[in-house]
Amino acid sequence: MTYNKPLPRLDTLNKPFWAAAKEGKLLLQHCPSCGDTRFPPGPVCPKCLAGDQDWIEASGKGTLESWIDMHRAYWDGFKDDLPYRVCLVRLEEGPVVVSNLTDKTENLRMGAPVKVMFDAVSEDLTLPKFSLV
């Protein structure tokens, strides 16, 4: 079966993130000059404007900042999943990222600890998602 959900738009900046996800690693772009970390990656550090940026592996631990349940499919590939849950996670390293929360429970609280898991949704694509700890 072909994968019919939207794919990441790969570019020279974000390629390492997606390659690492396939290996079960969550990467954050990192500034060797000032230590700032972020996702999505940018061409320069937004704090100090240094151009040479590298990557660090995140611990995968974070806290739940918010969540929603999508009841409308803006892509046909999500129709069978409705409603599906999207979450906002603050990673231990600081950056806030959007992902899916694998837990279906209604009993959620902001600030709940979560941990990354890697969902190999197709042969070519692994999505970092989060679960309650």
């Binding site: 939207p6 999207v86 959007v98 992902s99 999505l127």
Partner: protein
Amino acid sequence: MYDLNELKDKIAVIGVGNTKYGNFPEIDDYGLAAHAFRNAVNDCGIDKNKVDGLLVSRIPYYARMGEVLGINPRWTITLPGHGRMSGMGIIEAAAAIASGQCDYAALLYANIGRSRRVNYGGDESPGTWDPWGFTSPGAAHAMAFRRHMEMYGTTTRQLAEVSVSIRYHACLNPDAVMRNPITIEDHESARFITAPLRLLDYCLINDGAVCLILTSKERAKDFAKPPVLISGWGAQDTYSPSSIANFDMDFWYPAISAAGKQAYEMAGVTHKDVDALMCYDNFSPTVLFSLEGLGFCGQGESGAFVEDGALSLGGRLPVNTDGGHLSNSYMQGWALNVEAVRQLRGECGARQIPDCEVVQYVQSTPCTRSIIYTRG
């Protein structure tokens, strides 16, 4: 160089116009905008050839627009079709007039999103988070409102008050798209689009166009209607996280506070003087965020503030007396500025605020702007 506050009361809105709002597949952006322009010209009685400033938003090509209207201005600016451009555009035009770049500026906005079936999500607006299915401004506002619920105990029944009050106003506006009254129960039983937000938390998508004509206070005396003065404005952008579009972890509170403070200071009024608030209501939670940021209530207290119809005509702070984006028309802030002018002129019929003297516009977005209008 001017101190910004010196521009208090220097610029006036002399003419406003709009098309009907609805579904018009037979007419394009230029056609809609031309009708709104003609209505604004007729509203103030200006010779259209005097218009020497042109600002267009969500209109494909400024030069074609000028050709359609038969004008050759000496100041032209194009803004993208983002809602947040209305406040920015009015401020830019005021600054252009104040600095002598033009004398009479026509500001034109047209939207053909209804007849062209615009979705505001998915592949129309590609983003970083598409692989996880996170898309659309509504989803971003749902994410923010969930945080507000968690942090402050705000409820969806309180949120419903926003939609119910604004729909009540639409019922008093013969030109509004949605004119059937709704209740809190209707809101609570509407279908989810992005939980915790339901259908009645979402703005309309409709076709239409709006035009405002601005000039200096001195020149404004020569026209048909009493001028409405731009007494103050304030601005603050918040560009991180732009990868999470239409979202701010702090509900834009710092930006709204800063823009509001600047606008109040320039106009020499406080929120206590405001007779009506025209609040960018793409989704109902932004009204709550705006009330807090501007200081109408404390941070986290907007849920209690809006209860018992506080935002309805006759309540403690009438909001969006034309029915807003939620129930009148999705003119991305432009029609709310027109409504501010009409309220101050006393032209609003059944929805008129008695003795209306100060009306504030606010858009709480990555480009937060507030404008204070007063009677000239």
